[in-house]
């Protein structure tokens, strides 16, 4: 029964991600992207990666998508100001993408990793297990990522601050 849940959610995520790139209005793209991320959260829950499901929910759907929506509303974009590419470029892009997916699927089919996914350790994705890993062997990258976030924050503030010297 649960494999059917996977296929259903996988279909939904493909449909929603197609809607993201083919929606004319950028606001609709953001809303479809939120739905896509929600289906990804369901995937994480199905894989029993509960920590990642919660982080995906909070960071992607909470923080990043709000940032996107906020910027879109700030810039006052709508369908009329949406730049369009020529149909030739679109067709070429879609054909190139189809070639890419054929190549990827073909090579993975040649690798033939078709063993079923079995959760050997039910506590694998829980906070306890990941915390031990994160604060054990991955302590230095964890601390460095805080530096990265600080640098990003300073950079974003510096970039978006209006230059008052020239005015």
């Amino acid at each position: 029964m649960s494999t059917q849940v996977f296929y259903f959610v996988a279909t939904l995520s493909i449909i929603f991600s197609l809607m993201v790139i083919f929606a004319k209005n950028p606001i609709h793209s953001v809303l479809y992207l939120i739905l896509t991320f929600f289906t990804f959260t369901v995937h994480y829950v199905l894989l029993n990666a509960q920590f990642l499901a919660v982080v995906n929910f909070i960071v992607y759907m909470g923080a990043i998508m709000v940032l996107f929506l906020f910027v879109l509303m700030l810039l006052n974009l709508n369908k009329e100001t949406e730049p369009v590419k020529s149909p030739l470029i679109k067709i070429v892009g879609v054909i190139a993408g189809c070639c890419l997916v054929v190549t990827l699927v073909g090579s993975f089919k040649a690798a033939s990793i078709n063993s079923p996914l079995i959760l050997k350790n039910p506590g694998l994705g829980l906070v306890e297990n990941l915390g031990k890993e994160l604060f054990g062997p991955f302590l230095l990258p964890f601390e460095l990522s805080s530096l990265l976030l600080l640098a990003a924050m300073v950079g974003a503030v510096l970039l978006s601050k209006r230059d008052e010297v020239e005015a």
Binding site: V5, P26, V30, L119, K120, L124, L134, A156
Partner: protein
């Protein structure tokens, strides 16, 4: 929840690989065909998420929590990237009154 995840044994690993390949490709098509800088950014997010899901699936497959730690780091990196990228887009919009990516063709040499 426990019941559901113990029944997950049926899905083969290569179906996860196909799903992630398809979603990654959708992101690539979005980058190639759209001209709105914000939509291009969203396509990049889509690609990052496809890779995240694949890393998680492999982590479950090989029973190794490091893969999920990497996903956590990718999420932190994506947050930083989006903050800086959207700041750049806001600045471009302020200077050119457009977020058409073709306005930036003077960056070409």
């Amino acid at each position: 929840m426990e019941n559901l995840t113990t029944q997950m044994a049926g899905v083969p690993l290569n179906h996860y690989i196909y799903l992630c390949a398809i979603i990654f490709t959708i992101g690539v098509i979005g980058v190639l065909t759209r001209r709105n800088a914000i939509v291009i950014f969203m396509s990049v997010e889509l690609m990052l998420n496809a890779v995240n899901l694949l890393l998680t699936a492999f982590s479950v497959h090989s029973n190794d929590p490091s893969g999920q730690v990497f996903v956590f780091f990718i999420m932190a990196l994506a947050a930083a990237e989006v903050a800086v990228g959207l700041a750049i887009i806001v600045m471009v919009y302020r200077n050119t009154k457009s977020i058409d990516i073709n306005v930036l063709n003077r960056l070409k040499w």
